[in-house]
């Protein structure tokens, strides 16, 4: 028996937008989320402000959540984990577990929106001492501090006088296996550097980078203001390691454009960790038989012209489950997935 419902798996930005879009077009979305609340990683990791417009992440996620809550076109299934799938385009039966109970969800098409996870800087390499030094934190830890409105050194609760961001941690690294650029970290570090400036007006703030990748309007909206107005120092050169010396951290690297080695004392170091496929993304790829790329992200097959179709007919993917993506990318891809999935259902329903 054919179904015109569309199951959306994952309640982050891409999933929320996909569910809203399906409902807006007069179809029914079944939005499945394994956590007990919607909002995905921005919510779970307590992001403070969005890049580049500094809008409150909570406010933005509330707007997205509101659009699917009490929406007659969206059936919400929280605390629900997808475990299997049978059938094909027009006739999927998705197996799920909800509160210890097995359930079957019928759907004509599937949109995977299972997102990413932040790179764990303790994995593979300990060179930055994330689990060793209290004052070495990640962008994610910093977001939580900004959300709490209290940006201080974890070691002593004092405001830092010097802060260094280290870019490309877990990205663009053949040693680690993540050869790709995580796309958003340059912008987020620059955005956070501006937030650090608000908390610590007199601090020295550095960003150690390989390339600054601030495409489009991120250039003028984030990069230039950080450098020009907020006096953030961008230094091309990677840190090789972080050592502890007395109350300070010593960042060892090279100031490449001035051609001199650096060993600079810092009060705090923020590691710009990149994106990796989430556990859910890898699991759903297995469940639906969808191809993954060598990094474990879901592979889309249409190149630049179709960013959401997978090798399995009727199964689409949107957002950071297909690779590093910012909010704009995720929301745009979700819209595309809605269009493609409804199109696929309608074509399948036409008798041959």
């Amino acid at each position: 028996m054919a179904s015109e419902n569309i199951i959306v798996i994952g309640g982050g930005p891409a999933g929320l937008e996909a569910a809203r879009g399906v409902a807006d077009l007069g179809y029914k979305a079944i939005l499945v989320e394994k956590r007990d609340r919607l909002g995905g990683t921005p919510d779970e990791a307590q992001y403070a402000a969005l890049t580049p417009d500094m809008r409150s992440a909570k406010e933005a996620m509330d707007e997205m959540r509101d659009a699917v809550t009490d929406n007659s076109g969206v059936e919400l299934m929280l605390n629900t984990t997808v475990t299997g799938s049978e059938g094909e385009l027009g006739n999927f039966v998705v197996k799920a577990e909800q509160g210890g109970k097995q359930i079957d969800i019928e759907a004509g098409a599937v949109i995977l929106a299972t997102g990413f996870q932040h790179f764990d800087p303790g994995r593979e390499t300990q060179k930055y001492g994330y689990y060793e030094h209290d004052d070495v934190i990640t962008l994610v830890d910093a977001e939580k501090m900004f959300t709490a409105g209290n940006f201080v050194r974890p070691s002593n609760g004092e405001k830092p006088k010097s802060v260094a961001f280290i870019q490309c941690v877990g990205s663009r690294d053949r040693q680690i296996g993540n050869e790709y650029c995580s796309k958003v970290c340059c912008g987020i570090s620059s955005k956070q550097a501006i937030e650090v400036r608000h908390h610590c007006p007199d601090a020295k703030i550095y960003i150690f980078y390989i390339d600054m990748r601030m495409y489009g309007y991120w250039e003028n909206e984030i990069y230039w203001p950080a450098q020009e107005k907020h006096k953030v120092n961008y230094i091309k050169g990677m840190a090789t390691e972080i050592l502890k010396q007395g109350d300070h951290l010593i960042v060892k690297g090279e100031d490449t454009t001035l051609r001199r080695p650096m060993e600079v004392p810092m009060d705090m170091v923020i590691l710009a960790v990149g994106m990796e496929p989430s556990v859910g993304t890898k699991e759903m790829a297995e469940v639906f038989g969808v191809n993954k790329n060598k990094y474990g992200f879901i592979e889309t097959i249409g190149g630049a012209l179709n960013t959401v179709s997978t090798n399995v007919e009727g199964v689409f993917a949107a957002g950071a489950c297909t690779g590093p993506a910012d909010l704009e990318d995720s929301v745009s891809a979700a819209g595309s997935a809605v269009m493609k999935s409804i199109g696929a259902i309608r074509k399948a329903a036409v008798p041959a």
Partner: protein, 236 residues
Amino acid sequence: MMALDLSQNKYSDVSMEEKDRLFAEAKADERWEHVLYGCYECGICVAACPSARFYDFSPRVIAQAVAREDTDLIYTLMADSIWDCSQCFSCDRCPRKNSPGQIITILREVSVKNGLKSAKEALQGYGRIIYKIMLTGTQVSPDMLQPDAFPDWGTHVYEIAENLDDWRKALPPETLHTTETSWVIDDKTIIELYLIWHMTGVMDLISGVDEGLYDIIVDVMEERLEEAGYDDVTFD
């Protein structure tokens, strides 16, 4: 080409407080906010710079040192590198609209105002020009064409130098019938010029870099001013 010597502590005899103070003075200049925005470190300024072709000089390094507020390095550059700039402002093609050349203008002014050794050394060869321009308001004069002054100008300078007066008198405008200054300067202009030097305090800059030159110039100026009835104008 050798790399610029950017080693720190090259001038460890100068205190960090003094280096900070000099940089703060540069930053306080009202032009400062329009000479440095942010640096991509792209090197377009070096690519355009004629001095960088001939000297161990990089306008990019100037911009970077200043952007990083590395006062130790800035002092090192003030002590040497900034005097290699020809102030042509080819570097003004910067995509961020920085002007390393104007940064250098300001750093040079700070060096002169504070009588830094580098400023004294850099200006040493210009004593004669400073003397002339301060006392006459003109810089290049025909009598500089002496046979021994600029050997690289060639042998024809001998001939010209010999009959300089005649050559000048052959020029149609009467105001050019002089050899000591670029053109004839009347007394009123000279007195007004000296009064401007007096009122703007510009002589203090000269006393900071060349005390002997300062004394000579001031002697001449005070005498002329007294003759013109400005007995009360003194420079000390």
